[in-house]
Amino acid sequence: MRRAHLQRMGLPRRVLLPALFAPTIARAQRNTWLLNQDNAEIAFSARHLGLFTSQGRFTRFEARLELDATRTTDALVEGRIETTAVAIPFPGAEDTLRSEAYFHTARFPEARFSGRAAGITDAGGFTITGRMRIRDIEQPFTMAARLAERRPDPRGDVARFTATGRVQRSAFGMVADRNFTADAITITVGVNLLV
């Protein structure tokens, strides 16, 4: 897990976690965190022939996370991913993922997403619903998020959130290699916030 370069903009550290999990704490201010590859990860995985799973990630992206302490279900996130910055540890695979059949990075150098927290679940997690735009095709998108850990750091506590969701790649026009790669792609996001 990345520990370095944790960024925080906004209010005191004790605000964020209670804000997400205890709506009773009232602070009418909004916190904004800037996220990127230094304090967050965006990874994806796919099954192949039902035999094994491959995993990749994006090495350049930026996102903004906004939280209003008084209205916890109003957390907002939006961001962009540089599609050329796709990394996957199989020789030749990155070029294939950048090619027309996949992200077509020459034409669509960016993917975008935006979402909003949609309530806290019984298990203590929360759902993020939003939109994802890849290859200029926008689709609805849902992720199950949760606080994975909270640990002390010299600069304050670090809260690590993880979120997982699934997309059908064909919904974004990525239909190549269906005989080898499943349509369902799992997306996993990890975020480390200095709180």
Binding site: H48, L49, F52, P89, F90, N179, F180
Partner: protein, 176 residues
């Protein structure tokens, strides 16, 4: 003493020869295939691994048989040539065992983990985690050992043809 190897030894000799050639050809094919031809590339890798592991198993059986049955009598070759042939054969046996083991380890150490299977059906366990530094070492060692094996096998075959032409019945001893 018989003038030919046992039927099992002869069959397994030719099987291992065919499997080594096939495995080598698949190695070139799997590396050459572009990643965009994912399924074909994956299948070529799996067949390379399958046939390579079969080579290992066949050679183990051959070594057991060799230990149990004495080599058939052979006349017509000088002691020096026989000694050299013996050294060459020992080298081939060593490489026939080492190359598949190195290949098995190479695949596991690669940064992108892909399972090793026999014909996509029988999973072969892995003992290493992905380790790019180890892979950078194992990959060329496996490759050089494999090409050395293929070169030795080619010399072995060429010398067998030469002896055969000189009237030494080497092919009769190793007939299918």
């Amino acid at each position: 003493m018989s003038d030919a190897w046992s039927l099992a030894q002869r069959r397994l000799h030719w099987w291992s020869a065919a499997l080594v050639v096939l495995t080598g050809a698949l190695a070139v094919l799997m590396v050459w295939l572009p990643f965009s031809q994912m399924l074909a590339k994956f299948l070529a890798y799996q067949l390379h691994k399958t046939f390579g592991l079969l080579v290992f198993s066949v050679v183990l059986v051959r070594l057991v048989l060799r230990a149990r049955h004495p080599a058939p009598a052979l006349t017509g070759l000088s002691p020096g040539v026989r000694r050299l042939a013996g050294i060459g054969q020992a080298g081939m046996y060593a490489l026939l065992l080492a190359v598949p083991i190195l290949g098995w380890l190479t695949g596991q150490a690669a940064a992108g983990p892909v399972p090793t299977t026999i014909f996509l059906v029988i999973p072969v366990p892995h003992v290493l985690d992905p380790n790019p530094a180890l892979y950078a070492w194992l990959r060329p060692v496996h490759q050089v050992a494999a090409y050395t094996l293929l070169a030795l096998a080619a010399v072995h075959a060429a010398l067998a043809v030469k002896h055969h032409r000189e009237g030494v019945p080497v092919f009769r001893r190793m007939r299918w």
